[in-house]
């Protein structure tokens, strides 16, 4: 099986490639991204291509003619790209890579990275949506994820391939470039003054494992991928030994300016997580993908605040010598 991993330069994309390399049935792995992979890959082929460079991307994918696509070329706003650039890159990568893969003629299965933000939060919406809950995103990130799902579904209809959308909880960890993670690691973190909504976090390895299982099993349809348990803004902030800054109403606008000045922009979807929470029912994914142990949110939170001990270069050199 030839597998294409779009967004292979990201933390999760690189990990997906590493895990795929362990499977003998995956004969060839190719990937592309605008940044190089985060870790060493042994038998994956990587091409550094900006997803907005249509001609190069289409030529690369057409030449590879994948049987399956792990579509991680969906960029979270303010993760590495600005919200506008992230939306443009995600749309371009979806349309060009998936379109070229389908036209190449060998494609059988696509797994798309999506998120719980597609369900939306607010009055009358489920607190813990399952896959069959109504879809009504209420921020730009949720709408982008839904658009990607719809584009993939359109390709599936035209070319008779199966599509699985993995609706991830917020992926976080000490090495994952996540806007929520950056905000939670600020010395002072804005939290809702009159609420404390729950949100779930998912570890990088679990996200990657779910993607690989979905690829190998060829599941058709959406799946929520959520770790057990949850946290809340107040609990997370105190757990990280940070100072909570209670905010309400128009104060959020000021808080967003402040966090941006401190180097951690607060995009709409992260603001929504802090104000309204974000969880989902991942029972089906556990059964269908046989995920086994998934790290609980509290462990991922601990990992988010865990930093490796800094060893001065002089001391390290002395030790090696």
């Amino acid at each position: 099986m030839r597998v294409l991993v779009t967004g292979m330069g990201g933390e999760v994309g690189t990990r997906v490639a590493q895990l795929l390399e362990e499977h003998d049935e995956v004969t060839e792995i190719a990937g592309c991204d605008y940044v190089p992979p985060r870790r060493r890959l042994r038998r994956s082929e990587f091409k550094r291509i900006d997803p907005r460079d249509r001609d190069r991307l289409v030529a690369f994918v057409t030449d590879f003619a994948p049987h399956a696509v792990a579509h991680f070329g969906i960029y979270e706003p303010d993760s590495r790209l600005s919200p506008r650039e992230a939306a443009r890159a995600s749309e371009a990568c979806t349309v060009h890579a998936l379109g070229a893969a389908a036209r190449a003629g060998s494609l059988q299965h696509v797994v798309v990275r999506s998120g719980l933000s597609v369900y939306g939060r607010g009055r009358g919406r489920a607190l813990m949506p399952a896959e069959d809950a109504p879809i009504a995103p209420n921020n730009a990130w949720g709408r982008l994820l839904l658009e990607v799902e719809l584009l993939a579904a359109g390709i599936a209809r035209r070319h008779d391939v199966t599509v699985c959308a993995l609706r991830y909880a917020t992926i976080a960890g000490s090495h994952v470039p996540s806007p929520l993670g950056r905000v939670l690691r600020l010395p002072t973190v804005p939290v809702p003054a009159l609420a404390d909504p729950p949100f779930s976090l998912l570890g990088r390895d679990d996200a990657a494992r779910a993607m690989v299982e979905a690829l190998l099993r060829g599941h058709d349809g959406p799946l929520n991928v959520v770790g057990p348990g949850a946290t809340s803004p107040w609990q997370a902030v105190r757990f990280g030994n940070r100072l909570p800054l209670p905010v309400e109403g128009p104060g959020w606008r000021l808080a967003r300016r402040l966090t941006e000045l401190l180097g951690a922009p607060l995009p709409d979807h992260v603001c929504d997580i802090l104000r309204r929470g974000l969880t989902g029912d991942g029972t089906r994914a556990y059964e269908v993908l046989d995920l086994g142990f998934v790290r609980p949110t509290q462990e991922v939170l601990a990992d988010l605040y865990a930093w490796a001990t800094v060893t001065p270069i002089v001391e390290a050199t002395r030790r090696v010598a």
């Binding site: 813990m128 609420a195 779930s200």
Partner: protein, 244 residues
């Protein structure tokens, strides 16, 4: 009629606090200083539904001090696994506390109550204490997560009886045990005229009910039939509890 597990002294012992993942079983409460330190350090967990087990266990003795509760047929309450309790209610303010106390005492589990109104401040606060809104999706998710839930029949105000059954919630609960429960009003917060102020509330647990084997989980007719059966069962329990 057997009496409650509480009065029998057969309630299982509490396990040591972990406040990590288990949002179902009642844990030993920290002493006040440790409790405060734990809150300040953020060493507690919230569950996916916004429930805060640490806070729930701390505040549980507050209604227990004000409301006297007697539980009958407590052995019918499951000690583990998901189930939906369906009970009558007058105005519906005191009944959730009464049911929660009954379940805590009988099987040392935390009861999650369905039907929280969407009001600012009130909703987040009671969500922390284990309540959720009137959402079939959330009820189904909570049952899949193995919780013990309580959903009320329609309000009967000052009249004692069984109100309209929550059909959409029962449809979401198909496949899980549904347990009819009669809550007989007592003193303090009870609304029935003629009830002595010190009289205890009585909670009578009915036989668990399930739709016929092989029922499709989306079968609306089965859900409607189950709803009628549950209302009849609650009514029968209420009648039975009034008999001298």
């Amino acid at each position: 009629m057997s009496t409650s597990a509480v009065t029998d002294g057969r309630a299982p012992t509490a396990i040591a606090p972990n406040y990590g993942i288990d949002a179902d079983r009642v844990l030993t409460v920290d002493d006040p200083i440790r409790w405060l330190l734990r809150r300040l350090d953020g060493r507690f967990a919230v569950d996916e539904f916004g429930g805060d087990p640490h806070l729930m266990d701390l505040l549980a003795p507050v209604p227990a001090a004000a409301i006297r509760v007697e539980v009958e047929e407590a052995h019918r309450l499951p000690r583990a696994g998901a189930a939906l309790l369906v009970s009558n209610r007058g105005i519906g303010l005191a009944e959730p506390f009464v049911l929660g106390l009954a379940v805590r005492r009988a099987v040392r589990r935390r009861l999650r109550v369905v039907g929280l109104p969407s009001l600012p401040v009130i909703r987040p606060l009671f969500q922390k204490l284990g309540a959720i809104g009137y959402s079939p999706n959330d009820v189904a998710a909570m049952l899949r997560a193995g919780h013990l839930l309580a959903a009320p029949l329609g309000m009967t105000w000052l009249r004692a009886g069984a109100g309209e059954p929550p059909r959409s919630l029962l449809a979401a609960a198909l496949g899980f045990p549904v347990i009819p429960v009669a809550v007989c009003q007592g003193g303090l917060f009870g609304t029935s005229p003629g009830v002595w102020p010190t009289a205890p509330w009585r909670v009578v647990i009915g036989e668990p009910m399930l739709p016929p084997p092989g029922t499709d989980p989306h079968d609306q007719l089965a859900a409607a039939e189950l709803a009628e059966q549950v209302r009849d069962a609650v009514r029968a329990l209420l009648d039975q509890s009034r008999e001298p």
